[in-house]
Symmetry: C2
Subunit: 268 residues, 2 copies
Protein backbone atom coordinates (compact mmCIF):
# COMPACT_ATOMS: atom_id res chain seq x y z
CA UNK A 1 0.00 0.00 0.00
CA UNK A 2 1.23 3.47 -0.83
CA UNK A 3 2.26 5.69 2.08
CA UNK A 4 -0.45 8.04 3.29
CA UNK A 5 -0.62 11.75 3.99
CA UNK A 6 -1.42 12.13 7.70
CA UNK A 7 -3.61 15.11 8.57
CA UNK A 8 -4.44 16.20 12.11
CA UNK A 9 -6.68 18.80 13.68
CA UNK A 10 -8.34 19.65 16.96
CA UNK A 11 -11.62 18.46 15.47
CA UNK A 12 -13.45 18.81 12.15
CA UNK A 13 -11.60 21.92 10.91
CA UNK A 14 -8.88 19.94 9.22
CA UNK A 15 -11.54 18.21 7.12
CA UNK A 16 -11.48 21.35 4.97
CA UNK A 17 -7.84 20.50 4.23
CA UNK A 18 -8.63 16.80 3.79
CA UNK A 19 -11.40 17.62 1.33
CA UNK A 20 -9.07 19.70 -0.79
CA UNK A 21 -6.36 17.03 -0.65
CA UNK A 22 -8.97 14.49 -1.81
CA UNK A 23 -10.01 16.83 -4.64
CA UNK A 24 -6.57 18.08 -5.72
CA UNK A 25 -4.71 14.79 -5.13
CA UNK A 26 -7.33 12.10 -5.71
CA UNK A 27 -4.84 9.23 -5.76
CA UNK A 28 -3.44 9.80 -2.26
CA UNK A 29 -4.16 7.65 0.79
CA UNK A 30 -5.19 9.82 3.72
CA UNK A 31 -5.10 9.33 7.48
CA UNK A 32 -7.10 11.93 9.39
CA UNK A 33 -7.14 12.48 13.12
CA UNK A 34 -9.65 14.88 14.71
CA UNK A 35 -9.14 15.42 18.42
CA UNK A 36 -12.84 16.08 18.91
CA UNK A 37 -12.77 15.05 22.59
CA UNK A 38 -10.47 17.98 23.34
CA UNK A 39 -11.55 20.60 20.76
CA UNK A 40 -11.32 23.53 20.53
CA UNK A 41 -7.59 24.21 20.89
CA UNK A 42 -7.99 27.97 20.37
CA UNK A 43 -8.40 28.94 24.03
CA UNK A 44 -6.00 26.29 25.49
CA UNK A 45 -2.55 27.16 26.77
CA UNK A 46 0.45 26.55 24.53
CA UNK A 47 1.98 23.72 26.54
CA UNK A 48 -1.22 21.77 26.29
CA UNK A 49 -1.65 22.33 22.55
CA UNK A 50 1.95 21.22 22.01
CA UNK A 51 1.45 18.09 24.13
CA UNK A 52 -1.80 17.14 22.37
CA UNK A 53 -0.24 17.65 18.96
CA UNK A 54 2.73 15.50 19.93
CA UNK A 55 0.42 12.70 21.07
CA UNK A 56 -1.47 12.71 17.79
CA UNK A 57 1.72 12.78 15.73
CA UNK A 58 3.05 9.80 17.70
CA UNK A 59 -0.17 7.94 17.05
CA UNK A 60 -0.15 8.69 13.33
CA UNK A 61 3.53 7.81 12.88
CA UNK A 62 2.79 4.13 13.59
CA UNK A 63 1.12 3.98 10.15
CA UNK A 64 4.33 5.09 8.39
CA UNK A 65 2.95 8.18 6.61
CA UNK A 66 5.07 10.12 4.10
CA UNK A 67 4.04 13.52 5.44
CA UNK A 68 2.42 15.09 8.51
CA UNK A 69 0.00 17.95 7.92
CA UNK A 70 -0.88 20.06 10.95
CA UNK A 71 -4.25 21.15 9.60
CA UNK A 72 -4.97 23.43 12.53
CA UNK A 73 -3.75 27.00 12.65
CA UNK A 74 -3.51 27.05 16.44
CA UNK A 75 -1.38 23.91 16.51
CA UNK A 76 0.70 25.15 13.58
CA UNK A 77 1.41 28.44 15.35
CA UNK A 78 2.42 26.67 18.55
CA UNK A 79 3.83 23.29 17.57
CA UNK A 80 5.05 23.25 13.93
CA UNK A 81 8.73 23.89 14.59
CA UNK A 82 8.93 21.48 17.51
CA UNK A 83 7.16 18.69 15.59
CA UNK A 84 9.46 19.30 12.64
CA UNK A 85 12.49 18.78 14.83
CA UNK A 86 11.00 15.54 16.18
CA UNK A 87 10.26 13.66 12.94
CA UNK A 88 12.18 12.81 9.80
CA UNK A 89 9.35 13.22 7.29
CA UNK A 90 8.13 16.62 6.03
CA UNK A 91 5.74 18.44 8.35
CA UNK A 92 3.47 20.96 6.66
CA UNK A 93 1.54 23.64 8.52
CA UNK A 94 -1.33 25.76 7.33
CA UNK A 95 0.08 29.24 8.00
CA UNK A 96 2.74 29.74 5.33
CA UNK A 97 0.61 28.36 2.46
CA UNK A 98 -2.13 30.89 3.28
CA UNK A 99 0.43 33.65 3.73
CA UNK A 100 2.00 32.92 0.35
CA UNK A 101 -1.38 32.84 -1.41
CA UNK A 102 -2.32 36.18 0.18
CA UNK A 103 0.97 37.72 -0.95
CA UNK A 104 0.28 36.48 -4.48
CA UNK A 105 -3.28 37.78 -4.35
CA UNK A 106 -2.96 41.21 -2.74
CA UNK A 107 -2.68 44.26 -4.96
CA UNK A 108 -2.73 46.99 -2.31
CA UNK A 109 -0.49 45.27 0.24
CA UNK A 110 -3.05 45.17 3.08
CA UNK A 111 -3.95 41.65 4.19
CA UNK A 112 -6.58 40.71 6.77
CA UNK A 113 -6.30 37.65 9.01
CA UNK A 114 -8.97 36.09 11.21
CA UNK A 115 -8.27 33.19 13.55
CA UNK A 116 -8.61 31.83 17.06
CA UNK A 117 -7.32 33.78 20.06
CA UNK A 118 -4.20 31.62 20.18
CA UNK A 119 -3.41 32.02 16.50
CA UNK A 120 -3.94 35.79 16.51
CA UNK A 121 -2.11 36.29 19.81
CA UNK A 122 0.88 34.31 18.49
CA UNK A 123 1.32 36.82 15.65
CA UNK A 124 2.21 33.84 13.45
CA UNK A 125 0.56 35.20 10.28
CA UNK A 126 2.02 38.66 10.69
CA UNK A 127 5.42 37.09 11.21
CA UNK A 128 5.04 34.78 8.18
CA UNK A 129 3.76 37.56 5.91
CA UNK A 130 6.37 40.10 6.94
CA UNK A 131 9.24 37.63 6.88
CA UNK A 132 8.48 37.28 3.17
CA UNK A 133 7.61 40.92 2.50
CA UNK A 134 8.30 43.42 5.30
CA UNK A 135 6.13 46.10 3.71
CA UNK A 136 2.89 44.09 3.92
CA UNK A 137 0.33 45.62 6.30
CA UNK A 138 -1.58 43.09 8.40
CA UNK A 139 -4.98 43.58 10.05
CA UNK A 140 -5.75 40.76 12.51
CA UNK A 141 -8.83 39.82 14.43
CA UNK A 142 -9.55 36.94 16.82
CA UNK A 143 -13.00 35.38 16.28
CA UNK A 144 -13.40 32.92 19.17
CA UNK A 145 -17.09 32.28 18.57
CA UNK A 146 -16.74 30.65 15.16
CA UNK A 147 -15.11 27.27 15.90
CA UNK A 148 -17.83 26.11 18.32
CA UNK A 149 -20.48 26.80 15.66
CA UNK A 150 -18.70 24.42 13.31
CA UNK A 151 -17.84 21.73 15.87
CA UNK A 152 -21.53 21.69 16.86
CA UNK A 153 -22.66 21.39 13.24
CA UNK A 154 -24.42 24.74 13.25
CA UNK A 155 -22.48 26.17 10.32
CA UNK A 156 -25.54 26.43 8.08
CA UNK A 157 -27.75 28.04 10.72
CA UNK A 158 -29.15 31.57 10.92
CA UNK A 159 -27.30 31.96 14.20
CA UNK A 160 -24.03 31.27 12.37
CA UNK A 161 -24.71 34.19 10.01
CA UNK A 162 -25.39 36.48 12.93
CA UNK A 163 -22.30 35.43 14.88
CA UNK A 164 -20.11 35.84 11.78
CA UNK A 165 -21.55 39.28 11.16
CA UNK A 166 -20.95 40.37 14.75
CA UNK A 167 -17.48 38.83 14.88
CA UNK A 168 -16.24 40.47 11.69
CA UNK A 169 -17.75 43.91 12.28
CA UNK A 170 -14.43 45.44 13.45
CA UNK A 171 -12.85 44.60 10.08
CA UNK A 172 -15.37 46.41 7.90
CA UNK A 173 -13.43 49.67 7.96
CA UNK A 174 -10.18 48.01 6.94
CA UNK A 175 -8.80 48.54 3.44
CA UNK A 176 -7.64 44.92 3.12
CA UNK A 177 -8.10 43.46 -0.36
CA UNK A 178 -7.78 39.88 0.79
CA UNK A 179 -8.65 38.05 3.98
CA UNK A 180 -6.93 34.91 5.19
CA UNK A 181 -9.28 32.41 6.83
CA UNK A 182 -6.63 31.67 9.43
CA UNK A 183 -8.44 28.74 10.98
CA UNK A 184 -9.26 25.57 9.09
CA UNK A 185 -12.79 25.61 10.50
CA UNK A 186 -13.65 28.86 8.73
CA UNK A 187 -14.21 27.54 5.20
CA UNK A 188 -17.41 25.96 6.59
CA UNK A 189 -18.55 29.57 7.11
CA UNK A 190 -17.06 31.09 3.97
CA UNK A 191 -20.37 32.15 2.43
CA UNK A 192 -21.36 34.07 5.55
CA UNK A 193 -17.88 35.58 5.80
CA UNK A 194 -17.93 36.60 2.15
CA UNK A 195 -21.32 38.27 2.63
CA UNK A 196 -19.89 40.42 5.41
CA UNK A 197 -16.60 41.49 3.81
CA UNK A 198 -18.05 41.93 0.33
CA UNK A 199 -17.05 40.81 -3.16
CA UNK A 200 -13.95 43.02 -3.42
CA UNK A 201 -12.12 41.12 -0.70
CA UNK A 202 -10.68 37.78 -1.84
CA UNK A 203 -10.99 35.04 0.73
CA UNK A 204 -7.87 32.93 1.09
CA UNK A 205 -8.60 29.48 2.44
CA UNK A 206 -5.61 28.04 4.21
CA UNK A 207 -7.19 24.65 3.44
CA UNK A 208 -7.14 25.03 -0.35
CA UNK A 209 -3.68 26.53 -0.29
CA UNK A 210 -2.23 23.90 2.01
CA UNK A 211 -3.49 21.12 -0.26
CA UNK A 212 -1.73 22.78 -3.14
CA UNK A 213 1.48 23.13 -1.17
CA UNK A 214 1.31 19.47 -0.15
CA UNK A 215 1.13 18.68 -3.87
CA UNK A 216 4.19 20.85 -4.60
CA UNK A 217 6.31 19.40 -1.82
CA UNK A 218 5.46 15.78 -2.60
CA UNK A 219 6.17 16.43 -6.28
CA UNK A 220 9.57 17.94 -5.57
CA UNK A 221 10.40 14.96 -3.35
CA UNK A 222 9.25 12.51 -6.04
CA UNK A 223 6.60 11.20 -3.62
CA UNK A 224 3.26 11.87 -5.32
CA UNK A 225 1.10 8.73 -5.37
CA UNK A 226 1.10 6.81 -8.58
CA UNK A 227 -2.01 5.69 -10.37
CA UNK A 228 -2.99 2.31 -9.02
CA UNK A 229 -5.40 1.01 -6.41
CA UNK A 230 -8.26 3.17 -5.20
CA UNK A 231 -6.95 5.31 -2.37
CA UNK A 232 -8.11 4.60 1.18
CA UNK A 233 -9.23 7.39 3.49
CA UNK A 234 -9.11 6.59 7.21
CA UNK A 235 -10.71 8.89 9.76
CA UNK A 236 -9.97 8.75 13.46
CA UNK A 237 -11.50 10.88 16.15
CA UNK A 238 -11.05 10.99 19.90
CA UNK A 239 -14.61 11.93 20.81
CA UNK A 240 -18.15 11.37 19.61
CA UNK A 241 -17.87 9.42 16.35
CA UNK A 242 -21.49 10.06 15.37
CA UNK A 243 -21.27 13.84 15.31
CA UNK A 244 -17.82 13.75 13.70
CA UNK A 245 -18.99 11.36 11.01
CA UNK A 246 -22.14 13.39 10.33
CA UNK A 247 -20.14 16.58 9.83
CA UNK A 248 -17.52 14.79 7.73
CA UNK A 249 -20.10 13.23 5.45
CA UNK A 250 -21.98 16.48 5.02
CA UNK A 251 -18.80 18.46 4.34
CA UNK A 252 -16.88 15.98 2.21
CA UNK A 253 -19.91 15.07 0.14
CA UNK A 254 -18.87 14.02 -3.33
CA UNK A 255 -15.22 13.56 -2.47
CA UNK A 256 -16.23 10.89 0.00
CA UNK A 257 -17.90 8.65 -2.53
CA UNK A 258 -14.94 7.83 -4.68
CA UNK A 259 -13.01 5.49 -2.44
CA UNK A 260 -13.18 3.22 0.59
CA UNK A 261 -13.52 5.03 3.91
CA UNK A 262 -12.71 3.74 7.36
CA UNK A 263 -14.05 5.32 10.57
CA UNK A 264 -12.53 4.69 13.96
CA UNK A 265 -12.79 6.10 17.44
CA UNK A 266 -9.43 6.25 19.19
CA UNK A 267 -8.55 7.48 22.63
CA UNK A 268 -4.96 8.64 22.88
CA UNK B 1 25.85 38.76 -0.54
CA UNK B 2 22.85 36.42 -0.31
CA UNK B 3 22.58 33.71 -2.95
CA UNK B 4 20.38 34.60 -5.92
CA UNK B 5 17.51 32.90 -7.69
CA UNK B 6 18.64 32.30 -11.28
CA UNK B 7 15.91 32.56 -13.91
CA UNK B 8 16.35 31.73 -17.57
CA UNK B 9 14.25 32.01 -20.69
CA UNK B 10 14.55 32.06 -24.46
CA UNK B 11 13.97 35.80 -24.33
CA UNK B 12 11.67 38.18 -22.49
CA UNK B 13 8.97 35.63 -21.54
CA UNK B 14 10.64 34.70 -18.29
CA UNK B 15 10.40 38.34 -17.21
CA UNK B 16 6.79 37.56 -16.32
CA UNK B 17 8.19 35.07 -13.79
CA UNK B 18 10.91 37.50 -12.68
CA UNK B 19 8.33 40.24 -12.12
CA UNK B 20 6.25 37.97 -9.90
CA UNK B 21 9.33 36.82 -7.98
CA UNK B 22 10.23 40.49 -7.43
CA UNK B 23 6.69 41.18 -6.24
CA UNK B 24 6.08 38.05 -4.14
CA UNK B 25 9.65 37.75 -2.81
CA UNK B 26 10.93 41.32 -2.71
CA UNK B 27 14.05 40.51 -0.66
CA UNK B 28 15.53 38.03 -3.13
CA UNK B 29 18.52 38.67 -5.39
CA UNK B 30 17.74 37.69 -8.97
CA UNK B 31 19.88 36.70 -11.93
CA UNK B 32 17.98 36.67 -15.22
CA UNK B 33 19.20 35.34 -18.54
CA UNK B 34 17.21 35.96 -21.74
CA UNK B 35 18.56 34.15 -24.78
CA UNK B 36 17.20 36.85 -27.08
CA UNK B 37 19.76 36.15 -29.82
CA UNK B 38 18.25 32.68 -30.28
CA UNK B 39 14.57 33.20 -29.41
CA UNK B 40 12.05 31.80 -29.99
CA UNK B 41 12.68 28.24 -28.80
CA UNK B 42 9.16 27.07 -29.69
CA UNK B 43 9.90 25.89 -33.23
CA UNK B 44 13.48 24.59 -32.55
CA UNK B 45 14.28 20.90 -32.31
CA UNK B 46 14.62 19.30 -28.90
CA UNK B 47 18.36 18.65 -29.03
CA UNK B 48 18.99 22.31 -29.69
CA UNK B 49 16.70 23.53 -26.91
CA UNK B 50 18.41 21.15 -24.49
CA UNK B 51 21.87 22.30 -25.55
CA UNK B 52 20.97 26.02 -25.28
CA UNK B 53 19.41 25.47 -21.85
CA UNK B 54 22.52 23.63 -20.67
CA UNK B 55 24.75 26.48 -21.84
CA UNK B 56 22.71 29.06 -19.95
CA UNK B 57 22.61 26.95 -16.77
CA UNK B 58 26.41 26.54 -16.94
CA UNK B 59 26.78 30.29 -17.30
CA UNK B 60 24.46 31.05 -14.38
CA UNK B 61 26.03 28.46 -12.07
CA UNK B 62 29.26 30.49 -11.91
CA UNK B 63 27.35 33.00 -9.74
CA UNK B 64 26.52 30.33 -7.14
CA UNK B 65 22.71 30.66 -7.19
CA UNK B 66 20.53 28.78 -4.71
CA UNK B 67 17.98 27.74 -7.32
CA UNK B 68 17.59 27.50 -11.10
CA UNK B 69 14.22 28.45 -12.58
CA UNK B 70 13.57 27.37 -16.15
CA UNK B 71 11.07 30.13 -16.87
CA UNK B 72 10.28 28.86 -20.35
CA UNK B 73 7.65 26.21 -20.96
CA UNK B 74 9.40 24.86 -24.05
CA UNK B 75 12.69 24.42 -22.20
CA UNK B 76 10.87 22.99 -19.17
CA UNK B 77 9.09 20.41 -21.32
CA UNK B 78 12.33 19.37 -23.01
CA UNK B 79 15.14 19.95 -20.53
CA UNK B 80 13.88 20.03 -16.92
CA UNK B 81 14.67 16.44 -15.99
CA UNK B 82 18.10 16.47 -17.63
CA UNK B 83 19.09 19.76 -15.98
CA UNK B 84 17.87 18.43 -12.64
CA UNK B 85 20.15 15.44 -12.94
CA UNK B 86 23.11 17.75 -13.77
CA UNK B 87 23.01 20.17 -10.83
CA UNK B 88 22.83 19.84 -7.07
CA UNK B 89 20.54 22.83 -6.36
CA UNK B 90 16.75 22.73 -6.89
CA UNK B 91 15.61 23.25 -10.47
CA UNK B 92 12.07 24.57 -10.85
CA UNK B 93 10.13 24.48 -14.10
CA UNK B 94 6.95 26.31 -15.03
CA UNK B 95 4.71 23.40 -16.00
CA UNK B 96 3.82 21.72 -12.69
CA UNK B 97 3.09 25.00 -10.85
CA UNK B 98 0.58 25.96 -13.54
CA UNK B 99 -0.87 22.45 -13.58
CA UNK B 100 -1.33 22.46 -9.80
CA UNK B 101 -3.01 25.87 -9.84
CA UNK B 102 -5.38 24.73 -12.60
CA UNK B 103 -6.28 21.60 -10.63
CA UNK B 104 -7.00 23.79 -7.60
CA UNK B 105 -9.07 26.19 -9.72
CA UNK B 106 -11.16 23.92 -11.95
CA UNK B 107 -14.67 22.99 -10.87
CA UNK B 108 -15.78 21.06 -13.95
CA UNK B 109 -12.53 19.16 -14.56
CA UNK B 110 -11.88 20.52 -18.06
CA UNK B 111 -8.66 22.51 -18.35
CA UNK B 112 -7.42 24.38 -21.42
CA UNK B 113 -3.74 24.81 -22.26
CA UNK B 114 -2.17 27.11 -24.85
CA UNK B 115 1.54 27.08 -25.63
CA UNK B 116 4.20 26.91 -28.33
CA UNK B 117 4.26 24.07 -30.87
CA UNK B 118 7.01 22.33 -28.91
CA UNK B 119 5.22 22.57 -25.57
CA UNK B 120 1.90 21.37 -26.93
CA UNK B 121 3.49 18.61 -29.04
CA UNK B 122 5.40 17.36 -25.97
CA UNK B 123 2.12 16.74 -24.14
CA UNK B 124 3.86 17.96 -20.99
CA UNK B 125 0.84 19.69 -19.48
CA UNK B 126 -1.49 16.82 -20.21
CA UNK B 127 1.02 14.46 -18.64
CA UNK B 128 1.49 16.71 -15.58
CA UNK B 129 -2.25 17.24 -15.07
CA UNK B 130 -3.20 13.61 -15.52
CA UNK B 131 -0.33 12.29 -13.43
CA UNK B 132 -1.94 14.20 -10.54
CA UNK B 133 -5.55 13.53 -11.47
CA UNK B 134 -6.22 11.00 -14.27
CA UNK B 135 -9.82 12.14 -14.71
CA UNK B 136 -8.92 15.71 -15.76
CA UNK B 137 -9.84 16.50 -19.37
CA UNK B 138 -7.30 18.61 -21.23
CA UNK B 139 -7.91 20.76 -24.30
CA UNK B 140 -4.63 21.92 -25.86
CA UNK B 141 -3.81 24.37 -28.61
CA UNK B 142 -0.50 25.53 -30.07
CA UNK B 143 -0.40 29.29 -30.70
CA UNK B 144 2.87 29.84 -32.58
CA UNK B 145 2.15 33.42 -33.57
CA UNK B 146 2.06 34.87 -30.06
CA UNK B 147 5.71 34.76 -28.92
CA UNK B 148 7.05 36.82 -31.85
CA UNK B 149 4.52 39.57 -31.03
CA UNK B 150 5.97 39.81 -27.52
CA UNK B 151 9.65 39.52 -28.49
CA UNK B 152 9.10 42.35 -30.98
CA UNK B 153 7.39 44.53 -28.37
CA UNK B 154 4.08 44.54 -30.20
CA UNK B 155 2.07 43.16 -27.28
CA UNK B 156 0.00 46.31 -26.86
CA UNK B 157 -0.78 46.68 -30.58
CA UNK B 158 -4.07 46.25 -32.42
CA UNK B 159 -2.38 43.53 -34.46
CA UNK B 160 -1.74 41.61 -31.23
CA UNK B 161 -5.46 41.61 -30.41
CA UNK B 162 -6.28 40.31 -33.88
CA UNK B 163 -3.65 37.56 -33.78
CA UNK B 164 -4.80 36.45 -30.32
CA UNK B 165 -8.40 36.35 -31.48
CA UNK B 166 -7.53 34.29 -34.56
CA UNK B 167 -5.20 31.97 -32.62
CA UNK B 168 -7.69 31.16 -29.86
CA UNK B 169 -10.75 30.78 -32.09
CA UNK B 170 -10.60 26.92 -32.00
CA UNK B 171 -10.98 26.99 -28.20
CA UNK B 172 -14.20 28.96 -28.07
CA UNK B 173 -16.37 25.87 -28.23
CA UNK B 174 -14.53 24.16 -25.39
CA UNK B 175 -16.17 23.80 -21.98
CA UNK B 176 -12.92 24.51 -20.09
CA UNK B 177 -13.40 26.58 -16.94
CA UNK B 178 -9.75 27.55 -16.69
CA UNK B 179 -7.01 28.14 -19.21
CA UNK B 180 -3.32 27.69 -18.50
CA UNK B 181 -1.12 30.27 -20.19
CA UNK B 182 1.42 27.57 -20.97
CA UNK B 183 4.08 29.95 -22.21
CA UNK B 184 5.70 32.59 -20.05
CA UNK B 185 5.33 35.13 -22.85
CA UNK B 186 1.53 34.97 -22.72
CA UNK B 187 0.89 37.09 -19.61
CA UNK B 188 1.96 40.07 -21.77
CA UNK B 189 -1.17 39.29 -23.80
CA UNK B 190 -3.47 38.32 -20.96
CA UNK B 191 -5.99 41.12 -21.48
CA UNK B 192 -6.47 40.17 -25.11
CA UNK B 193 -6.67 36.48 -24.20
CA UNK B 194 -9.21 37.17 -21.46
CA UNK B 195 -11.34 39.17 -23.90
CA UNK B 196 -11.51 36.17 -26.24
CA UNK B 197 -12.22 33.41 -23.70
CA UNK B 198 -14.58 35.48 -21.56
CA UNK B 199 -14.94 36.16 -17.86
CA UNK B 200 -16.06 32.65 -16.90
CA UNK B 201 -12.70 31.12 -17.78
CA UNK B 202 -10.00 31.72 -15.16
CA UNK B 203 -6.60 32.41 -16.65
CA UNK B 204 -3.78 30.58 -14.89
CA UNK B 205 -0.44 32.31 -15.32
CA UNK B 206 2.42 29.88 -15.02
CA UNK B 207 4.49 32.94 -14.09
CA UNK B 208 2.48 33.86 -10.98
CA UNK B 209 2.20 30.25 -9.91
CA UNK B 210 5.87 29.50 -10.40
CA UNK B 211 6.84 32.47 -8.24
CA UNK B 212 4.63 31.13 -5.51
CA UNK B 213 6.12 27.64 -5.82
CA UNK B 214 9.64 29.10 -5.65
CA UNK B 215 8.58 30.70 -2.38
CA UNK B 216 7.26 27.40 -1.02
CA UNK B 217 10.34 25.41 -1.96
CA UNK B 218 12.82 27.95 -0.61
CA UNK B 219 10.80 28.16 2.62
CA UNK B 220 10.79 24.41 3.11
CA UNK B 221 14.56 24.35 2.51
CA UNK B 222 15.07 27.21 4.97
CA UNK B 223 16.55 29.31 2.15
CA UNK B 224 14.29 32.35 1.86
CA UNK B 225 16.31 35.59 1.84
CA UNK B 226 16.47 37.41 5.13
CA UNK B 227 15.73 41.06 5.52
CA UNK B 228 18.93 42.97 4.95
CA UNK B 229 20.53 44.81 2.05
CA UNK B 230 18.46 45.91 -0.89
CA UNK B 231 18.29 43.00 -3.30
CA UNK B 232 20.17 43.24 -6.60
CA UNK B 233 18.55 42.26 -9.88
CA UNK B 234 20.95 41.41 -12.71
CA UNK B 235 19.70 40.96 -16.25
CA UNK B 236 21.73 39.29 -18.98
CA UNK B 237 20.72 38.83 -22.61
CA UNK B 238 22.44 37.27 -25.55
CA UNK B 239 21.09 39.61 -28.21
CA UNK B 240 20.07 43.22 -28.65
CA UNK B 241 20.27 44.80 -25.19
CA UNK B 242 18.28 47.88 -26.24
CA UNK B 243 15.10 46.05 -27.21
CA UNK B 244 15.41 43.66 -24.26
CA UNK B 245 15.89 46.52 -21.82
CA UNK B 246 12.98 48.48 -23.28
CA UNK B 247 10.62 45.52 -22.92
CA UNK B 248 11.91 44.73 -19.42
CA UNK B 249 11.48 48.30 -18.21
CA UNK B 250 8.00 48.56 -19.69
CA UNK B 251 6.93 45.22 -18.26
CA UNK B 252 8.58 45.32 -14.86
CA UNK B 253 7.58 48.93 -14.22
CA UNK B 254 7.19 49.55 -10.51
CA UNK B 255 8.97 46.38 -9.45
CA UNK B 256 12.07 47.70 -11.20
CA UNK B 257 12.35 50.86 -9.17
CA UNK B 258 12.88 49.36 -5.76
CA UNK B 259 16.41 48.08 -6.05
CA UNK B 260 19.67 48.35 -8.00
CA UNK B 261 19.55 46.80 -11.48
CA UNK B 262 22.47 45.66 -13.63
CA UNK B 263 22.17 45.12 -17.40
CA UNK B 264 24.69 43.11 -19.37
CA UNK B 265 24.99 41.65 -22.84
CA UNK B 266 26.61 38.22 -22.80
CA UNK B 267 27.37 35.89 -25.67
CA UNK B 268 27.55 32.28 -24.58
Amino acid sequence: MQQAIAILDSGVGGLTVAKEVMRQLPMENILYFGDTARAPYGPRDSEEVLEFTRQIVDYLLQFGPKMIVIACNTATAIALHKIRSMVSIPVVGVIYPGARAAIKSTRNGTIGVIGTENTIRSGAYQQALQSINPSIRVVSLACPRLVPLVENRMFRSEEAKLVVEQSLRPMRQSDMDCLILGCTHYPYLSEAISDVVGPDVSLISSADETAREISAILYHRGQLAENGDLPVHRFFCSGNTGLFQAIAQEWLGEEMKISPVVWQMTRL
